[in-house]
């Protein structure tokens, strides 16, 4: 929307995960009931999204009137700094919550065992996707964002304070990233490089879905996820390459992605 490609999205994701671990261990040691651990987890994930506001106000806003390449570079600087900042704060060992993952038990779905927590996360992401969709299409704020993506000057001429819009959009995006990082933590462990895999997959998702399209991103994520699962069970050697081949095929055949609206 903002036409910022944020290389640091992976770093935010990792940050969310680390903060999630800390929040949950604090919560557990403070004696909070295990069944409610998602609440502090999600809250911590959302709260640390404030880093997005800091990055936007402290760095990105200086370069909006310059070539977009400079935004890319600034987010690269953030990647470098975050890696060491995480190391300074949490050390080098992977951080992990204990058994909270299985607090909600397991269910059998379509013949396979799945932890209830996974289903909660899936439901939560669906709700978030719907909320974002609603925000973009139903609210004034959303209309402004979409209009600004098309024509910045026009929106500014209408008297909208774009600086505030950008700060909010970027913070919102960051908060979603950190929340995502926090929510996966019970099922995994926080490692400083966990974001890097994510960046690469995020590319695939965005290119397949179409640059700048929310619906496309959602579909792209589904395509990538399903393809990976299929590749792993059918021909594991192909796993990541298959996704790249799809990306290239999409680029050749449908340069704007499956749902692309943003012009090249």
């Amino acid at each position: 929307m903002q036409k910022i490609f944020n290389l640091a999205c992976g770093s935010f994701y990792a940050l969310g995960a680390y903060v999630g671990v800390s929040a949950v261990s604090w919560y557990t040691s403070a004696g909070g009931p295990a069944a409610l651990f998602v609440l502090p987890l999600a809250l911590a994930g959302l709260a640390v999204g404030a880093i997005g506001f800091v990055v936007e106000r402290g760095l990105l806003r200086f370069v909006y009137d310059r070539d977009e390449a400079f935004q890319l570079l600034l987010t690269f600087a953030v990647v470098l700094m975050m890696e060491d900042a995480i190391r300074l704060t949490w050390g080098t060992s992977p951080q992990s919550t204990s058994a909270l993952y299985l607090t909600y038990g397991q269910v059998r779905v379509l013949g396979a065992t799945a932890p209830v927590y996974n289903l909660i996360v899936i439901a939560a992401s669906l709700v978030i996707a719907l909320l974002i969709g609603g925000l973009l299409t139903r609210t004034t704020f959303g209309r402004i964002i979409r209009a600004a993506a098309d024509n910045r000057e026009m929106v500014e001429a209408l008297g909208v304070d774009l600086r505030r819009v950008y700060a909010r959009v970027f913070t919102l995006g960051t908060a979603l990233g950190t929340l995502g990082g926090a929510l996966v933590i019970p099922a995994t462990a926080a490692m400083s490089e966990m974001g890097i895999e994510l960046i690469v997959e995020a590319f695939a998702v965005v290119v397949i879905g179409g640059l700048g399209s929310m619906r496309g991103a959602f579909v792209g994520a589904l395509v990538v996820g399903v393809l990976r699962a299929i590749a792993i069970s059918v021909y594991p050697e192909l796993e990541m390459l298959l996704i790249y081949f799809i990306v290239i095929a999409v680029l050749v055949l449908r340069p704007r992605g499956l749902f692309g609206g943003a012009a090249a």
Partner: protein, 319 residues
């Protein structure tokens, strides 16, 4: 004229360095010269054609692996052949990649080049029987101008013949690039950077010129990549990793992309700065990230821009 004096003094200084400077610092000049070749190419694309590639490590990797394959399994030791093959292979890979990428501009171009870089990175890691996977491949000592120089201790070889060979390659590369940017082609690239729509209306085939600039920069990156191999003696997938692309963009910006020699200066400062900061601060990435952010925000013209002070007053206000 002062510019020429400075350039002349720099060349003399670099030529004399092996005679006077400590061995270790002379050795650091080798990656500097290799990166300088890469950056001359990258800046044709960024500084002159206005396209910021975040995936040029791909071509560095191709050059380096080409050298490793030639010196190893194929038993070709001549560095002249290696450099030619590296450039050729770089062009071969770049042809389709560039054709797909130049259909996009700005941020999308950056993303796609990054994505392609990662595709090849994954490829190199995955096909480990061919590429050695994470272990990489040894880059055996190349022969220079037909001399095998195998009997020399490696360090003597590097700070002696190989040093001057690299310097010669860099000089030739710089001369060629100087001609390119001052040719009619260079002028057309600048029109495309400044205003693609207007350039198109003058009959300049924007896509084709961008493609050509991409090809040239890929050839330069591959040649530089091949030069990067022998001092390490090994090539590995991290050469293709996206953060490596980030580093070379960092160098370009540090020196200043608006000037011909800016990126070369950037490579020099980056390498010695990194050497120093890495030894002094364990958390050197934090320092480097902060430096990069400061340059982007406060000194978009890089060191050359600060030195010249004749560029437009920079704009630091918000949107």
């Amino acid at each position: 004229m002062t510019a020429r004096l400075v350039l002349g003094a720099a060349v003399v200084g670099v030529a004399l360095a092996p005679l006077v400077a400590p061995t270790y610092h002379v050795l650091l000049m080798l990656p500097f010269m290799a990166y300088a070749v890469v950056l001359l190419g990258l800046n044709l694309l960024f500084g002159y054609a206005g396209l910021l590639s975040f995936g040029h490590a791909l071509f560095i990797g191709i050059g380096a692996y080409a050298g490793a394959f030639l010196t190893g399994p194929l038993k070709v030791r001549s560095l002249e052949v290696i450099l030619l093959a590296a450039g050729g292979l770089g062009a071969l890979v770049a042809a389709p990649v560039a054709a797909l990428c130049v259909r996009y501009v700005k941020i999308y171009f950056g993303m796609l080049t990054l994505a392609f870089g990662m595709v090849f990175y994954t490829f190199v890691l995955k096909f480990y029987r061919l590429t050695g996977g994470d272990e990489g491949l040894p880059f055996l000592r190349p022969a220079l101008l037909g001399w095998s120089l195998e009997a020399m201790p490696k360090t003597d070889y590097l700070v002696g013949p190989y040093y001057y060979y690299s310097l010669a390659v860099l000089s030739v590369a710089a001369l060629c690039m100087w001609r390119i940017v001052h040719s009619p082609f260079g002028l057309c690239l600048k029109t495309i950077r400044d205003n693609p729509a207007k350039a198109e209306s003058l009959g300049i085939d924007v896509t084709r010129y961008r493609w050509l600039a991409f090809m040239l920069s890929a050839v330069y990156a591959a040649v530089g990549g091949a030069l990067l191999g022998p001092p390490t003696g090994n090539v590995d997938p991290t050469l293709l990793y996206w953060t490596h692309s980030g580093n070379i963009v960092f160098m370009t910006l540090l020196g200043g992309f608006a000037s011909f020699f800016g990126p070369v200066l950037g490579a020099f400062v980056f390498i010695y700065l990194q050497n120093w900061v890495m030894s002094v601060v364990p958390y050197w990435r934090l320092v480097f990230g902060a430096i990069l952010a400061a340059i982007v925000i406060f000194a978009p013209g890089g060191l050359m821009g600060l030195a010249a002070r004749r560029r437009r007053p920079m704009r630091v206000s918000g949107a």
